[in-house]
């Protein structure tokens, strides 16, 4: 009669592994494909590039995992990133002009980014929860607003960071620690914190509860609006962190910055096995999803066998195939535990 036997526990552990295995299998197949097309795919330099690149989308997607798990959606992340990057540059350039260059300049920029990210996330959250407007509309609106604002502040051109400030800031993107690039460290830390938040705190549980049934959550003494708003703030924070490591990469921002990142971030989340309608979130899957997306882009640059015009088609086919593979093994493990 007692249910908690060690046996079932082991069983459960295995099932979870099987679930996460889906995206992982897809990623491994992709790597095999990459390697067979060009062995340099697995060369250290390329792997390091790939990981560093996936950090942007990955960090943003970790935030998106919370939003989506709690039943929301955020389309504004790409423009938000562009806007924050632009404001960081403006603030840092201003600081250089008025106070000269120092590490403080960069810290000021970072501080500004954090505040803007949290603020922007709060606005999205507030409008969705208190304004009771569909998240899709709110974030479609703010998407347009941030994109416009960066265009406006850049006067239709590019905002570029002062070259001295850039010199100080540069290492945050280009340097390594223990052989691992700093953006990858940031990604790792964000993913770990995200994982702990999702799986080991009440907050994560609340997100899943709200996404799976708002009514049940409310009747279970969960402050639905607050938790929802926090997911958007987390998303904003993640965008801000991604921007902080993005700015030193190119030292500039324009209206072309971050275009379509929202689609990529959401795709990474879904490829990772999180359910778009909410209720079930997997940070580990999201990380792998981000790696898969970045790897697809990278592999397309490795070969010449197909016309450039067809890049998008190949990308589309691989994404569909990756998710299909994943669902395949996922279903096997799921027979007994339908996630929805």
């Amino acid at each position: 009669m007692s249910l908690a036997s060690a046996g079932t526990d082991r069983l459960r552990g295995m099932r979870i592994d099987l679930k996460t295995a889906g995206p992982l299998v897809a990623l491994i197949l992709l790597c095999v494909l990459g390697y067979s097309l060009n062995p340099l795919f697995l060369a250290e330099g390329n792997v390091s590039n790939l990981l560093t690149r996936s950090a942007f989308i990955g960090i943003i997607a970790v935030g998106a995992t919370f939003v989506i798990t709690a039943g929301g959606i955020d389309l504004s992340v790409g423009s938000m990133a562009a806007f924050i990057a632009g404001m960081m540059i403006i603030v840092m350039n201003w600081a250089v002009e008025s106070m000269g260059v120092s590490v403080g300049t960069v810290l000021l920029g970072i501080g500004c980014s954090l505040i803007l990210g949290i603020g922007a996330g709060f606005i999205n959250g507030f409008l969705t929860t208190k304004g009771k407007i569909e998240a899709f509309i709110v974030t479609l609106g703010t998407m347009g607003i941030y994109r416009s604002l960066i265009t406006y502040f850049a006067n239709g051109g590019t905002l570029s960071l002062d070259s001295d400030a850039r010199q100080i800031y540069r290492p945050i993107y280009y340097d390594s620690l223990l052989g691992i690039p700093i953006p990858v460290w940031v990604f790792i830390v964000v993913a770990l914190i995200g994982w702990v938040l999702m799986n080991r705190t009440a907050f994560g549980r609340y997100c899943m509860a709200i996404g799976s049934s708002e009514h049940v959550a409310r009747y279970s003494a969960i402050k639905v609006d607050r938790v929802r708003t926090i997911t958007y703030i987390l998303q904003g924070l993640c965008v801000s962190l991604a921007t902080i490591i993005y700015v030193p990469r190119l030292g500039s921002a324009s209206s072309a910055t971050g275009v379509l990142w929202e689609l990529e971030a959401i795709a990474a989340v879904i490829i990772g096995g999180t359910v778009l309608k909410g209720g079930y979130g997997r940070i580990g899957g999201t990380v792998i999803g981000a790696l898969i997306l970045t790897a697809i882009g990278n592999i397309l640059n490795l070969t010449e066998i197909i016309s450039n015009y067809l890049n998008g088609a190949v990308q589309g086919v691989i994404i569909i195939a990756a998710v299909y593979l994943q669902r395949g093994s996922f279903r096997a493990g799921r027979k007994k535990t339908p996630a929805q």
């Binding site: 060009n38 340099l40 795919f41 060369a43 330099g45 390329n46 590039n49 690149r53 942007f56 265009t151 006067n155 239709g156 051109g157 590019t158 570029s160 993005y246 990469r249 190119l250 030292g251 500039s252 324009s254 209206s255 072309a256 910055t257 971050g258 275009v259 379509l260 882009g297 990278n298 640059n301 490795l302 010449e304 016309s307 450039n308 015009y309 890049n311």
Partner: protein, 294 residues
């Protein structure tokens, strides 16, 4: 001589007409050059944003291990570092169209000239219009290229007494050109000329003017050198009487020059300015490529 040379070419993806032409010319040049030289391999990659392009260049360096890079930057400033890395990895650098602020990186610069496109258009406008005449402007996508063209045009007509009724973005897109022009036409009863600064937009504008039946009131100036437009000019079309060249073929020129660095005896260096000449009925024929998709 038989040493393998790999040349990476990084350009924006074919998201609008001009970029489509750019892609076409790049591909044509690739097959032509690869057929001509056994030892040259060209790797062509396309990007959707400055960040993408930076990634592409990283890949060209680390995976393709290129000996030369031909790059038409999405935007100038953000690509300085990636191109510098290619340089430091030992590649020969050819920059096309949009110059990098740090000219020491490049070995060769093949320049289009966006400002010139603006000022040549302005000169033509002033030659046809007089004080008090009205024009409307349809701009591209809010980016550096567009801003340069626009600023140069405005500087060009300054003091001429020509009124700019309004300007709106038409995103280098025929549909937007059509819709924005429809709205300009309902708004302004008196328009004497339209500066569309891009042939795709101009095509949309022309349809809107035809729909309104106001072909006789105004003329349109586009830009780039799309074959349909040039054909029209050759045939004496009065609605689009001229065009300002901004040839997407410049990428092929740049690739040829880069190849020359490896095939000819002397080193190749310097700037190749293509300029933005005015295409009129007299000289149109020499800019007409009937096989190009653009």
């Amino acid at each position: 001589q038989d040493e393998q040379v790999r040349i990476g070419v990084s350009i924006p993806a074919a998201t609008h007409g001009w970029a489509g032409g750019l892609n076409w010319h790049a591909q044509e040049a690739e097959s032509r050059i690869e057929a001509q030289y056994d030892n040259i391999d060209i790797v062509l990659v396309t990007a959707d944003s400055p960040g993408d392009q930076a990634s592409d260049i990283e890949d060209l360096i680390s995976v393709q291990q290129i000996d030369a890079l031909v790059v038409l930057p999405f935007e100038s400033d953000p690509l300085v570092e990636p191109v510098r890395q290619a340089k430091e990895a030992g590649a020969f650098i050819t920059v096309v169209d949009r110059g990098l602020p740090d000219t020491s990186i490049q070995d060769v610069y093949v320049a289009g000239n966006n400002s010139e496109l603006g000022s040549v258009s302005a000169d033509y406008m002033m030659s046809r219009l007089s004080e008090g005449d009205n024009i409307v402007i349809l701009r591209g996508i809010p980016t550096v290229i567009d801003t340069e063209r626009f600023d140069a045009f405005m500087a060009g007509i300054e003091g001429s007494g020509i009124n700019v009724l309004d300007d709106e973005f038409a995103n280098w897109n025929r549909d937007d050109g059509f819709e924005v022009m429809q709205d300009f036409l309902s708004r302004f009863p008196d328009i004497d000329a339209v500066w569309a600064q891009d042939d795709d937009i101009a095509m949309g504008v022309v349809e809107a003017i035809r729909q309104a039946g106001r072909e006789d009131e105004m003329f349109v100036v586009g830009g780039a050198g799309m074959k349909d437009v040039i054909q029209g000019i050759m045939e004496g079309n009065e609605l689009i009487p001229v065009d300002v060249l901004y040839p997407p073929a410049m990428i092929a020129t740049a690739m040829d020059i880069t190849v020359a660095n490896f095939t000819s005896n002397g080193p190749v260096q310097g700037e190749y300015i293509l300029g933005a000449p005015l295409i009129t009925q007299e000289n149109a024929e020499q800019f007409y490529y009937p096989d190009s998709p653009f």
